[in-house]
Amino acid sequence: MGSATTTTTTTTATIPVTVDGQTIEVKPGTTVLEAARMLKISIPTLCHHSAVEAYGACRVCMTEIEVRGKKRMVTACNFPIREPLAVFAESDATKRQRRGVLSMMLARWPNVPAIQTLAKRYGVQNPGYKHPLRNEAPDACILCGLCVKACSEMVWEDVIAFAGRGARRRVAMPFGKQSERCTGCGTCAYICPTGAIKVADEKNNPVDPARIRKYGFRLTKEMATLDDSQCKMRRVGTAHLVEIMDAYDLLPTHNYKFGKHAEIARISSPVWTSLVRQNVPDGCWVGCQMSCAKAVDDFVPRTGPYKGRKVLVDGPEYETVASCGSNIGVFEPHDIIELNFYCDTYGIDTISFGTACAFAMECYEAGVLDKRKTGGLDLKFGNATAALELLHHMSRGEGFGVLVGQGIRQMKRIFAERFGGDPKFLHDIGMEAKGLEYSEYVSKESLAQQAGYAMAQKGPQHDEAWLIFMDMVNKQLPTFEKKAEALYYFPMWRTWFGLMGLCKLPWNDVEPEDNAKWPEPNKVPGHVEGYENFLSGMIGGDFKIQDILKMSERVYNFQRVFAIRMGHGRREDDRGPYRAMGPVTAEEYESRAERYDGQLKELVKVDPAGKSTAQKMALLRQYREEQYEGVLDAVYKRRGWTRNGTPTPETLKGLGIDYPWVVEVVKARMAEEGSA
């Protein structure tokens, strides 16, 4: 059927298109509808929406065109322009077909406003026959298919589809039953032009569902249309970050000594794209449109209890590639996947394992440990077999695994006490704070991130603040005050996601198309606005970002008070190891000597020429540690805490949590410190 002539497309040149006498140059593949809209010429549509692929079903956009001297009728919404053509958006032939189509629709759905409006525009009257399926409801389903397309292309679920043919065609869930996979995300209801789909949210019972859906849809649309050109979270997941971090010298390598590695290509995203099942919806929860979780099918481990059997591995995501890969010197993707699999299987966090293992490996290479002490494990960087063996030992509570399993804070103590390690060296390279292992970013060149890590309430995890690009790359936080402001805003903002039980990734791993045009694009203001409306629509009221930050601040301060009551929450608890701040070893310094020498000259105002590496390291360390203390002071001040990190009674009062038993805790700490 139809003709099958092909026209070759030139991809570079533009093509002239004339719409009702006005000419415009368009890229090949632009649709007639898009070209007309560029010229502000209206072509009616019912089944078209910019968030989904053109469907060409309603036929309301029938338009006369002329190609190579031949006139024909096409649907404007999906006719791709591949050669020069003229469009007659309102010719007699165009109008006649639009009238014919609208008349058919009007016969069946006489009271749907979207149809009535177009019928009026084209002077279409009710036809003389009675449609046997006439439906007088103003919110009747007009079978445009937008909901079906949205569920498939935007939500990636295909919960709804067309069932039945011809006159029996209708939108339905499989077998006409409520599908368990439908989360009531409301995308279909939102995109529906007639209001035929109603979302009955009896579980959440939101105050203003329409308000929630409006902002929810915006995010869904961004995921569907922008992700491929932004973070590729749906197609690749977080593993796309590996090569980016390497490029910025931020990828933890050999226990955070370095930020990049020559073998990076072996663990970059093309490798993961080939190993990991892609392009399928795989969210942490059904209905997530970001769906960045990825899995490796039919993986066969080479060690451990599952050796030789086919298993499914959930991941790896970026942090696992860094922790179980570069940070322990492993650049073999299969070994990273195997470490990932056994960490998951044993219930061990991949970050804590990788960072603890990296610490043990550096101790091994520095001579603190030897084979006798590790029970025969040759814990050199890059020895994946030893790392796997260590992991199996940990799971069984055997040998050296018992020591590593207790974490870096205990290892530091034990290695000093039993193996005669230098406590200062162990403290400098042991990447933990508050007893938790560091997550996988090198923070040496970002003062704000050093504090973001070490000051985080639960320990050095970046979920309170990720400021490296703002601070180090884009230099947006030049002063202590600016850094302190960021360390107020972002921890409070990010804490709020925890309070709500929401994932943070949709906030800034996809951004509105116009994000850069807003003031402070780092905050993704368009999305902040969405969350304000989400909260307001859910529980009523009209919340703004200040209200949201206040909610978090109450919880955040209460957490600090709790830490104080437990004997923690002091200034010293907010300091990290020096490895997180600067070069601990001469090897580290030398690897970036140019950068550090420059900093000595410009920032410390000393001439590095003629000085030994040890002298230069000491000068740099003194400078960086002073800087860090400066940040601590500024942040405490901004948060309304004392110089030792204790929330003052005034701060508690301002937040409305000055309950006597709370105030009592801070007063006791202040008295103890003599700072009352």
Partner: protein, 657 residues
């Protein structure tokens, strides 16, 4: 059979070479060996086992015949060969005795016994089971002399009734895969394309698009990389290896050309696809066949298995470097899945709905890959075109296709004819043959002494052509100009007891049910047109509604997404054009001239009645009363207008008014 084949066979068992792969060098020997095997028999007994004859008892005849031979110890003298559709379906079950070509029809166990005894043993053909000349009633002994066969010219059906579709050697013996051998040993892919281009062959599936041009576009798209939109959601892989599809989703009511070709000669289709794959550089092909064709599917699967075993499909075909294999996709029987884009959506595991074809399948078809889709009959023609040359094929049919395939309709076309026609069945005739030749000369005219009224060509969305059009030459362009179409070759003949409004409504209702419902004009247009036609047949319409009807048809024809909707108005528009008086009679006089539309007719008994009571005995509602030998009367209130009384009356005493 060749002179060579007449020599007594040295080797009786045809299976000596079984499972051995065939190379270009050994192909002829395999064929010769099979011919020698056949020559060792006194004759062949060709039993038709196409679906038509099978439903009339073809398999029973085949098995009984085998048993009879065995009983008489004749099974080493006569070989029973089950063949695909002979074509003369009206006369099944059919047996043809070779080498003389004696044609026996409408066989049953008793008449078969007689044939076995008198002909096979006694050597005297049985006149009683022969075909009778329609005019004289005289028996015609030889198949070739029966008018039904005489005017046919066989290309696609070249092996019908001769080869055993379940035996690849039988096909090879009749020249199967010789064209593939020729292509792989002496031709470049471009040469194969050249012959197809020269032949001017246009797609046999309906639209008549030139096959050569389609292949050429696909080759171009594969080379440059497809630039079109993706059908599938997944991102299309950038290397664009073309795919080849055989459309065996024949869905027109009353059409069985493709089914019969596969049941008769599946290797013709496979060989055609191999040649196509060689020409366009594909290594992967699909056959989309509907679930309702179990026998065709079974034979196709057997043929593919044998072809694979013998090295005619898969890797290193005929010992060359050429590799190509075919997968079968079974359709669930939706009419719309015969539309190429809907078919591919169905193959991709999605809802069988068409998409806009602004980007053609040759650029972006199955899984976004350049795809050539041709129908069964087209593929079956390809080996003959390659073997005998495009120029030879182009010399058959109408117009001069040497310069452009659009100048005419070359080759032959297979038609399945059903309805009020004496010789229902399958025929293959040269393009340009006149309608009346197909219907009267080959088809034997209208049975029961009734008048020809109209013929509907091209399936449900073809048009109905009246008596005045019987001289029309049958080719793609002439039929389209007359308001009908070639379609895939279905032909429904109607006599004077047919109401054309009712016929139009029948086809519209079929299409209404089969429309996928994706686009507004097809879905809503068919509902509305059906509603209006219903009102006309009930005598509830005004003339103004005819205007609405024509408006709806115009919107459907121009604005529908695919050809199902765009051609759906044909039955209405063609009947309005040629039988407008009949519409007006329904509207103005509230009468159905053909006596079909129940709301507008009543049955009466005329004085011709001699009171035999047959009608009263057969009436399902017992509404006919009257004493024996006296004029009977129909109670109009109880009559359900079923027409049985009229059919059973031997005295033409029941009148419809």
């Amino acid at each position: 059979m060749s002179a060579r084949a007449q020599r007594p066979p040295k080797e009786r068992r045809a299976t000596s070479a079984r499972a051995a792969r065939i190379s270009a060098r050994t192909l002829d020997a395999v064929g010769r060996k099979h011919q020698e095997l056949l020559a060792g028999y006194k004759g062949l007994l060709l039993v038709c086992t196409g679906t038509g004859c099978v439903s009339a008892g073809g398999f029973v005849i085949r098995d009984s015949l085998k048993a009879m031979l065995k009983k008489r110890r004749l099974d080493k003298k006569w070989l029973v060969v089950q063949t695909g559709c002979n074509g003369f379906c009206a006369m099944g079950p059919i047996l043809v005795v070779q080498p003389e070509g004696i044609f026996y029809e409408k066989l049953n166990e008793k008449s078969l016994e007689k044939v076995a005894e008198e002909h096979l043993v006694g050597g005297k053909p049985v006149k009683a089971s022969m075909h009778k000349d329609l005019a004289t009633g005289n028996p015609i002994a030889k198949m070739a002399e029966i008018p039904f066969f005489a005017k046919q010219q066989l290309i696609a059906l070249r092996n019908k009734g001769i080869v055993d579709p379940e035996n690849i050697e039988s096909a090879i013996a009749m020249g199967g895969y010789a064209a593939l051998k020729k292509a792989l040993t002496t031709m470049k892919p471009a040469d194969v394309l050249g012959e197809v281009m020269r032949s001017g062959i246009r797609g046999r599936g309906g639209a008549g698009f030139p096959t050569g041009a389609k292949w050429e576009s696909c080759i171009k798209a594969s080379a440059t990389g497809a630039t079109g939109e993706s059908n599938a959601q997944a991102v299309r892989p950038s290397p664009t290896k073309p795919v080849l599809v055989c459309n065996a989703d024949e869905g027109d009511p009353g059409a069985f050309m493709d089914r019969s070709i596969i049941e008769t000669d599946p290797h013709a289709v496979l060989e055609g696809m191999c040649l196509g794959a060689y020409a366009i550089g594909a290594s992967e092909g699909f056959i989309y066949i509907r679930k309702e064709y179990p026998l065709a599917l079974e034979r196709l699967e057997k043929a593919m298995a044998q072809a694979r075993e013998r090295g005619l499909l898969g890797k290193r075909i005929l010992g060359s470097d050429f590799a190509f294999d075919i997968k079968i996709h079974r359709g669930a029987g939706a009419f719309v899945c015969g539309e190429s884009t809907a078919l591919m959506a169905s193959m991709e595991g999605r809802v069988g709905e068409p998409r806009a074809k602004y980007v053609h399948n040759v650029e972006s078809g199955y899984m976004g890959r350049p795809t050539v889709l041709n129908n069964v009959e087209t593929w079956a023609n390809v080996p003959v075109i390659v073997e005998k040359g495009g120029a030879w094929f182009g010399s058959i049919g109408t117009g001069d296709v040497a310069k452009s395939p659009w100048n005419g309709s070359s080759g032959t076309k297979v038609f399945s004819r059903v309805g009020n026609i004496a010789n229902t069945g399958l025929v293959e005739v040269p393009m340009g043959i006149r309608l009346k030749e197909i219907i009267f000369d080959i088809g034997g005219g209208i049975p029961g002494g009734r008048e020809f009224k109209a013929v509907q060509t091209g399936g449900p969305s073809g048009g109905c052509l009246p008596k005045s059009m019987l001289d029309l030459p049958v080719d793609f362009d002439t039929l389209a100009k007359a308001g009908s179409m070639m379609g895939s070759g279905g032909m429904i003949v109607m006599d004077d007891r047919t109401c054309m409004v009712d016929v139009a409504k029948y086809f519209i209702d079929f299409l209404k049910d089969e429309s996928c419902g994706k686009c507004t004009p097809c879905r809503e247009g068919l509902i509305a047109v059906s509603e209006i036609l219903g009102a006309i047949t009930r005598g509830q319409a005004t003339e103004a509604l005819l205007g609405e009807l024509e408006g709806l048809c115009d919107t459907m024809a121009v604005s529908s997404l695919c050809q199902l909707g765009a051609t759906a108005p044909n039955p209405v528009l063609s009947t309005l054009k040629y039988f407008r008086d009949e519409y007006l009679a329904h509207i103005r006089e509230r009468k159905c001239p053909a006596g079909v539309c129940k709301s507008l007719i009543r049955y009466e008994i005329t004085p011709n009645c001699n009171g035999c009571h047959v009608c009263a005995r057969n009436c399902p509602t017992n509404c006919i009363s009257g004493d024996k030998k006296k004029l009977h009367v129909i109670d109009a209130n109880a009559c359900i207008k079923c027409g049985i009384c009229r059919d059973v009356c031997k005295f033409d005493a029941v009148r419809v008014g």
